[in-house]
Amino acid sequence: MYKLLFIWRYFMKRRMAWMAIVAVTLVVMLIVTILNIMNTILNDTKSNNHRWSGDIVISRDSLVGFPYYENFLTKLNELNAITATTPVIKTYAIIELNSLQVYGIQMENFSNVTDFHKTLFHQKNSENPTLILPENQTLRPDQHPLTAEQKKRGCILGCYWITTDLEQLQLAHETRLRPERQVPIDITIFPINSKGSLTGSALGETQRFWYMDACQTGLVDIDQATAYVDFDELQKLTFMDGQDGSPARISEIRIKCKPGYDLTETHTKIQKLWDNYIATFKNQTDYHLLSDVKVQTWELYRRSFIVPVEKEKNVMTVTFSILSVVSAFIILAIFYTIVTEKIKDLGMIKSIGGSNWGVQQIFIGYGFSIGLVGTFFGVLFGCLLVINSNHILDFFGIQIWNPKIYAIDKVPNTIDINQTIAIALVAILFSTCAAIIPAMKAGKLKIVEALRID
């Protein structure tokens, strides 16, 4: 009982204890803030990349693409582990004199694999998102006469290609950029045949599309330089549909696994399936188009965009770990001082019958309670800071994240509970240990020696 009384009194009456609390609070707050923010950045980056890639991607790093995909798609769809697959054509194009990537997608399949429709502005909540313009469009009178085919071609643009200001974009969508306003987008493509040389008119094929929608996948490299058009349209335009007599080609197959299926296992299975499949084409002249096709998990497929963020997180973690160690020594020094300051009390308590261990418990409890209170406030302020970071920064008019560099335009504000609890436990444990060392030393002191201290 007397131990609790002492802990309480030391706590309330010593200014030094408050300083120790403030020190603990600041360190814990710092670590909670930084680690939570970095963690969320990494998690967001990963989940955005994962979502946009699907689980597994079969692709070839060449504008030529690879042939014989139809039968393989059928084989894939027979697998138990897979819920959806979609072929993708990927090429480069020029729009309004800017170069960008163009993806040919089958809207429904692509959405099934990548949740693409959820990243759209107009069709976010639509039951069946589409790249085909509605039939009953009335075109502006000044347009050339168009065939029914030509009237349907829709195009989705990455949102940062239009503007980096998302509020502006929202506004634009409410006024200017509506599908029925028929904003024309002329896309110029350079078709390449299966041997890798320019084909068609060899001057580029230009085709008019109509602005349908914008997407925000959360991946800046994608959102700032990508257009999406219909798969069949692009396949035709790139001469990958076999109009020159060679087999039809695509650039990628994206695959979504059923929830609960082990990714690595499924990946190995698909790799094996692919190897067996292409073995049957071994004697074909275009076998080389198949042999360097890669079967990758989403992480591998997008690693060049994930690794920098991972590295950054690690650098931050190391930096702040060092900082924490430095602070830990300062806290240790403060604890040492506040315990040493009270060694005379230890002599007095022992002189009236307090046991060594009882007295040490007071000091350890003292350290523990300082750690507990300091950590509590540190976690509290840290979490408040993280949660309100955007308001705080807005208030001061600061923008820390350049959305072109980070895959995010807002400071993340979610708290990783497990990590925060771990930080708190370490802080409390450390504070307690910081008190144990001087307490042990104090315990060794003889009563008369302790009493002699002034």
Partner: protein, 232 residues
Amino acid sequence: MSTKSKYILSCQNLRKGFTIGSERRTVLNDCNLNVEPGEFVAIMGASGSGKSTLLHILGLLDQPEQGTVMIEGKNVFTISKSQQDKIRNQQIGFVFQFYHLLPELTVEENVILPSMISHSFFSWLSNKSKVKKRASELIESVGLTKQTTQWPNTLSGGERQRTALARALIQNPQILFADEPTGNLDSVAGKAILEILCNLNRSGQTIVMVTHDKAVADLADRTLVLHEGKLS
């Protein structure tokens, strides 16, 4: 270990020295003392003769290099640490020259502290009111009722010493040690302390007091002088 003895406190062949640098000084050398229950013993001696050192050993605050100390026939340096703690807590009261109150506790809390130490958490809760009553009687007997809730640093020297005295008495110790209890006080404050000590002795309290004031020593039943490490 315990042998029946008519002495409440006795020490035999006590020896204690200090090494300062390379020089060795023997402070107590073959020091003997026997105190009967209810006795009031005064110890005198020149400054630096080892009076405090002796009292600390008798009060289990320090250890001798040689010799035995018996309290109620029990050799206190051969028993366990926790039993020593218990003797310090229950059988001995100690009053220091420099009070040694705990600055973070009020007068009342300082007085009841030994009792709190002897109780576990739950037994304290059930005994609290009894102890508090006893404490307030003691505080009244040393004339500090008005200062009950004051912090030690707001008390005068005399008031601090009376608080220390009350603290030493709360557990009804068999022996009360006092190391120059009036050494830091003016004559009026000192007189108040001595009066309390005399009253206690009259009601049967065994007291061993160190002083260098002849007039103070005269209040005791017996006066011993510490000289060259020996009592005579």
